[in-house]
């Protein structure tokens, strides 16, 4: 092989392998943050609704601090190579989406759109090609959100909050209707979307139990 080529190739391979190492470090740091958020948010299942806002306050700073991580990614990923490396952090990113949208739902009952999640994670438009929040990862995060809310519907009732399941039901149905508009391939997203149906069914059952036992007051519309 051409001596020149040999050197260039070796340099290029070394660069990639260094880069992979650096990304791995960033992912470890990212993971730690998302795991902290998940740990804190896990308490919603045993927290009375009036204490929830206080709990959320403990999560917010961790979410904000993810901006440091995404900035880190934006610095090390070479221009246009986002898709080359993204599998390494997809899981963490999806968990961050999950945490951000759950926070939002618990705060004001709304769905945080992709662009807001993106800016909440400190992702900047000029990073295009280096670090973005892909639609696919946002959707994965939403599915995790629905999974969690079906669990919350059950536990809220146990804690005596009979209104929550109804609120959740309306919220989740809208998300489900959104997913129904997509043409998915036979991939993970499709499989997880299929499983959403069971979450919705579970939530419906809670709503059914609650309504028939007349435990819930007629609902005030919260969405428009």
């Amino acid at each position: 092989m051409d001596a020149n080529d040999l050197e260039t190739i070796n340099a290029s391979l070394d660069f990639d392998s260094d880069l992979r190492e650096k990304i791995r470090d960033q992912v470890t740091a990212f993971d730690k943050k998302t795991r902290t958020m998940v740990g804190l948010l896990n308490k919603i299942h045993s927290t009375p609704s009036d204490v929830i806002p206080k709990l959320l306050e403990t999560v917010r700073p961790v979410l904000s601090s993810c901006a440091v991580i995404t900035a880190g990614f934006s610095e090390i990923i070479p221009q246009d190579q986002f898709w080359r490396w993204k599998d390494m952090w997809s899981n963490s990113l999806r968990t961050a989406v999950f945490a951000a949208t759950l926070l939002q739902y618990l705060t004001d009952g709304t769905l945080m759109p992709l662009s807001t999640v993106s800016s909440n994670l400190g992702i900047q438009e000029e990073w295009a090609g280096r670090f973005v929040l892909p639609v696919e990862d946002y959707l994965h995060g939403l599915i995790s959100l629905v999974n969690e809310l079906s669990r919350l519907a059950v536990n809220a009732v146990t804690l005596g909050n009979f209104q929550e399941p109804i609120k959740i039901s309306l919220f989740v149905k809208e998300i489900f209707a959104g997913f129904a508009q997509l043409n998915l391939k036979n991939d993970t997203l499709r499989r997880r979307y299929d499983s959403l149906k069971y979450d919705i069914k579970k939530i419906e059952e809670v709503v059914y139990d609650v309504s028939l036992r007349k435990l819930a007051a007629p609902n005030q519309p919260t969405h428009a």
């Binding site: 309306l170 997509l182 299929d194 069914k201 419906e204 007629p218």
Partner: protein, 241 residues
């Protein structure tokens, strides 16, 4: 006497033509699969909306949209007519079969939404024929059966996702019976049709999912001594604005 070189030249032309045709059919099959899959997604969307309708109007219009979508697939097959003429169909059957099955799945799903019944062989073959009823390709029993077998998976999805809505419970019960019959009918064919028993296993698991859903419906109505419609009304009034 013909030289070895020139006969092999003729072989080359024949083999190249064969490989090119094979490529063309593979590509067309990918397109057909994609169009059919998209149609199935569309039908799920429309079916979800039409479920609450008392009359069959919207249901029929959903089916109409499905048929319209599939007309594009049919015209693709019309275009492949020559590549599949005579003995060519069986020569390229392996390349054509996956797309065909996906198309039959989509078509039978559309048919189900309109008629709540299984599409018959003749109707599928007719959909793949020109105005003079001359087929673009001969429909085989195995493609027909394998395509229908995939339908049960979509019906399971339809049953489960409709279940939370009014009318969805009745639909789930209907589909449960329908899929049970499909499974029983197909059972006799498994030893004759390759890969059908694998698909029957999928049908079995779909059926179990529907049965679990039907079970849950009965169970949750069982604690109350009121007719299901009245229970539905109470729930609806709780949720409704």
């Amino acid at each position: 006497m013909i030289s070895v070189s020139s006969t092999f030249n003729a072989f080359r032309e024949e083999l190249d033509e064969h490989h090119d045709r094979r490529e063309r059919l593979i590509k067309a099959s990918r397109d057909i699969t994609n169009l059919s899959k998209k149609t199935i997604f569309l039908l799920h969307r429309l079916a979800l909306d039409s479920l609450t309708d008392a009359d069959d109007g919207r249901r029929t219009s959903a089916a109409a949209k499905g048929y319209a979508n599939l007309r594009e697939v049919q015209s693709l097959y019309a275009g492949l007519r020559n590549d599949l003429a005579g003995d060519r169909f069986w020569r390229y059957h392996q390349q054509v079969s996956p797309g065909l099955q996906e198309y039959i799945e989509a078509l039978s799903f559309t048919h189900f939404l309109e008629h709540r019944s299984l599409i018959c062989f003749e109707t599928v073959q007719r959909s793949l024929s020109d105005a003079d009823h001359v087929p673009y390709l001969p429909l085989t029993t195995s493609d027909y059966l394998l395509g229908l077998s995939d339908l049960t998976g979509e019906l399971m999805r339809l049953a489960i996702s409709g279940i939370a809505q009014r009318g969805g419970r009745k639909q789930a019960m209907e589909i449960c019976t329908f899929v049970r019959n499909c499974k029983a009918d197909f059972e006799g064919f498994t030893s004759h049709v390759r890969d059908l028993s694998k698909k029957q296993a999928v049908t079995s698991s779909s059926l179990e999912k529907i049965e679990d859903a039907a079970y849950a419906i009965v169970l949750r109505g069982s604690e109350y001594d009121l007719p299901p419609e009245m229970l539905d009304d109470i729930v609806a009034s709780t949720i409704a604005q």
